[in-house]
Symmetry: C2
C-alpha cells in the first residue's frame, strides 16, 4: 500500500533563534496532529460541554484520543424548533470547546428535506427559499472562524422525489430543480464565508450522483469536497465496491470526504429494507463475534481510503453504540467500554500512521525527515519549535529556548 | 382529451388586396401543413433522390402523404468513412429535396460513441475533440438553411461508461465528463448556426437523464428541445409510463421531441436483452395480429403525446419493415404495402387533427376560425391567400386575385 501521498519527505534545516544551524544534534520529531481528518460524530460533546453532563466525560475523553474532526448537528427542525429560537448557545459553546482541543468541526447540514423545520411549511415556496438562504447566511457567518466546514446540502438526488412526507425543502427543490437549488445554497454559503470548505453530501453513490456533481461543477457551484455517506447497516461494502466508488468519484479531481460511515458489531439489517429508517427495533445488541468483524471491516475500509490520494477525511457516524437506529455502530459500547474497533483504529491513527522519531543533523544542521503530514513538536535539549510538515519542499525550523 | 393547445382559435378579418373587407362571403380554409412535427426516418429518400433508385419511389411517395419532418443520418463512420471523404453530395441533395417538399429535416447525430469514425482512434484525445468540434462546425454551417435541426449529441448518459468496444467519443467523454463534452459540442453547434434547434437525445428516461438535463441547463447549454427515444421492441410502454415520463421531463419547460419511436407488428423481443443491438435474427416477420396491435399502440401513444403541450415532435424510426434489427417496425411492409398503422396514423394526421372547412364572414369581413396550428390555403371564389394559423391573436388575411 503506497502511502507516499500521506507523508512529507524532505530535507529540513534546524537552527537556533539566531539562525545558527544546530549541527550534529539529536532532534525529536513528535507528531501532535494529523493533516488528514479522522472524524466522528461529535454529538456527545453537546451535553458534556453545554450542560456539564458528567456522564459524557468518559465518552468525550476517549473520543479525543483518536479523532481530530467532529460533525455537529444543524438539523433545522431541532436547531430552530420555533422560528427565531435557535440552539446557538450550546452548539457554539461545543464547537469552540472542540476547536480549543484542536478538533476541526463540520456543521451538518444546512439544507435537507429530513429533520426539516415544520413551521417552514406555513410559508409559500418563495418565502421558504428566502428563509433557507437567510438560515444559511446566519449559521455560516455566525460560526465563521469556529466552524469553517459545512455539509451545505444533503441527499439532493432523492430530494425532489422524496415522498414519505411533505416538507418545505422538497417543495423548493421541486420548484428550482436539483442543480438550481444547489447553486443557490452554495452561492449563499460561499458569500457568507468565502474561506469555508463546502460539501455536497449524499448516500447515493450511483451514476445519479456522478451526473449531479458533473452538472454542478459545470454550472460553477463552488463544491470544495464531495461527501459520500457509507452507512453499512446492511453489511460491509467490501474492497471491490469501495475501490469502484473511489474510482468513479476521483475523476472530478476534488477531494473526497467519507462523511458518515457506519459498520455495526451485531446482526446485519435485512437487505430488503430500502430506507434504513424503516428498521425500528427495541434493541440491537453488540456481540463478541460482531465486534471482531466490525474491527476487521473498519480496518480494511480505513486502509483502502487512506491509500487513496483524493480522500481527505473519513468520518464515522456514531461514536457510541445505541445511537441512530439503536445500532451497535460505535467504537465504544453503551456502558462506555472500548470495543476492538476502538483499539484497532487508535493503533492506525496514533501508531502505524503516526510519526514519533528522532533524527541527527549533519554539520550544517540538516537532516532528512519522513513524517506523516500534520503538526509537529520539535525538541532538542532545551530548544523547542512547533511546525507543520505537509509537503515535500525544503524547510527551515527555528527552535526557541523553552 | 384537451387539444386546445394544438389549435388556433381566433377572429380573422378577410379583405381583398385593396383592404376592403370581404363581407358575407364563403371562405374555404384548407390546411396544407401541420405546425406540429410528424416525423419519420427519411433514410429511404437517399437512394431515391441521390441515386434515382426507382425502387424507393413508392416508399417515399406514401411517406410524404403523412409526414412533414425527416431524420437524415449523419453517423460519422458512414458519413466520413475516410477522413476528408464525406457523403455531403447525396445527403445535401436529399435534404434539399425534402425541404422543397415542405419537409423539415433533422440531422442525426453530430456526436455519438456508436457508428463513430474508426480513423479518429489514431489521434490523441485533444485532437479527437478538435476534430469533433470541426466536424460539427462543418455540418452545421454547411447545411444551414437546409438543415436547421440537429441531434447534437446522442446517448450521453451511457457514453463515458460504454464498454462494448473502444471508440474515440467515449474516450473524450471520459476526459471531459458528460456535461463538459455536452457544453463544448452545443457551444460549437450554436456558434455555427445560432438559429438552429439543438437537441440532446437519449434512450435513458430515468432520473439519470433528468439530472443530466438539469445540470446542462444550469451550466448554460443552449438545449432547444429534449430528445426522448422510445424504441419499444420489447413491448409498448403503455399509458402509465408515457404519462410518467412526460410529467418528469415537462417540468424543465422545454419542448420535448419523441425522436426515435418504434412499435413492432410481430413477436416482441425478450425482456432479458439489455442492448437491443444484441438481438440478431435472420428474419422477424410481421403478423396480422401484430399489425392490429401495432396500430392500436401507435394510436394510443400519438394521442397521449399530441395531448401534451410540451411535445412538439413525434418521429417514428423506421418507415418500412425490415430496417433496424430487421424488425417489423414500419408503417409499410417490406413489399411496400400499407399496414393498418399507416392508415390509422394518416387518419389522425390528415383527418382527425386536420382542418378543412368553410366559414362565412360577417358584414365586416370577419369570422371566427378554429383550426389546427399550421399552414393554410384560404380561398373564396377567385381570391386566394396562403397564411399560417399558429396562435389565438386576431389576424387579417389579405386575399389576392389568383
Amino acid at each position: 500500500m503506497d502511502l507516499s501521498h500521506r507523508k512529507a519527505v524532505k530535507t529540513v534545516t534546524f537552527t537556533d533563534q539566531s539562525g545558527k544551524p544546530l549541527a550534529g544534534r539529536r532532534i525529536s520529531i513528535r507528531q501532535k496532529e494529523h493533516a488528514f481528518l479522522f472524524g466522528c460524530g461529535g454529538f456527545d460533546f453537546i451535553p458534556y460541554v453545554s450542560k456539564g453532563d458528567r456522564e459524557y466525560k468518559q465518552v468525550t475523553d476517549s473520543w479525543l484520543e483518536i479523532f481530530n474532526y467532529a460533525t455537529l448537528p444543524f438539523y433545522w427542525g431541532n436547531y430552530e424548533p420555533e422560528e427565531g429560537r435557535t440552539d446557538f448557545d450550546s452548539i457554539m459553546k461545543t464547537a469552540a470547546y472542540l476547536k480549543d482541543k484542536g478538533v476541526k468541526v463540520k456543521g451538518h447540514p444546512l439544507c435537507w428535506h429530513t429533520e426539516c423545520a415544520k413551521w417552514l411549511m406555513d410559508y409559500d415556496n418563495d418565502t421558504i427559499l428566502k428563509k433557507q438562504l437567510e438560515r444559511i447566511d446566519r449559521e455560516v457567518s455566525g460560526y465563521a472562524g469556529i466552524i469553517d466546514m459545512w455539509d451545505v446540502i444533503n441527499e439532493v438526488v432523492i430530494m425532489p422525489i422524496f415522498d414519505k412526507y411533505d416538507n418545505a425543502v422538497t417543495r423548493i427543490c421541486k420548484d428550482k430543480g436539483r442543480v438550481g437549488l444547489i447553486k443557490e445554497v452554495f452561492a449563499r454559503a460561499h458569500e457568507s464565508n468565502p474561506d469555508a470548505l463546502l460539501l455536497l453530501n449524499d448516500f447515493n453513490t450511483t451514476i445519479d450522483y456522478e451526473i449531479l456533481i458533473d452538472g454542478c461543477l459545470n454550472a460553477g457551484v463552488p463544491i470544495g469536497a464531495i461527501g459520500i455517506q457509507s452507512h453499512q447497516h446492511q453489511g460491509y461494502w467490501g474492497r471491490e465496491k469501495l475501490e469502484e466508488v473511489l474510482e468513479r468519484f476521483s475523476h472530478f479531481g476534488l477531494s473526497i470526504h467519507f462523511t458518515e460511515n457506519t459498520l455495526i458489531s451485531g446482526d446485519i439489517m435485512p437487505a430488503y429494507i430500502e430506507d434504513l429508517n424503516d428498521w425500528q427495533v427495541d434493541e440491537w445488541p453488540t456481540t463478541p463475534e460482531g465486534e471482531e468483524r466490525q474491527a476487521r471491516e473498519i480496518e480494511e475500509m480505513y486502509r483502502i481510503l487512506f491509500a487513496n490520494p483524493h480522500v481527505e477525511a473519513i468520518t464515522s457516524w456514531d461514536y457510541r453504540d445505541g445511537g441512530w437506529l439503536k445500532a451497535p455502530s460505535g467504537y465504544i459500547r453503551e456502558d462506555n467500554s472500548l470495543k476492538p474497533s476502538y483499539e484497532m483504529l487508535k493503533g492506525l491513527v496514533k501508531k502505524e500512521w503516526w510519526t514519533d522519531t528522532e533524527i541527527t543533523t549533519d554539520e550544517n544542521g540538516r537532516a532528512g525527515v519522513e513524517a506523516f503530514k500534520g503538526q509537529y513538536s520539535i525538541d532538542s535539549d532545551n530548544l523547542h519549535a512547533d511546525t507543520d510538515f505537509v509537503d515535500n519542499s525544503e524547510q527551515t525550523v527555528v527552535l526557541d529556548a523553552v
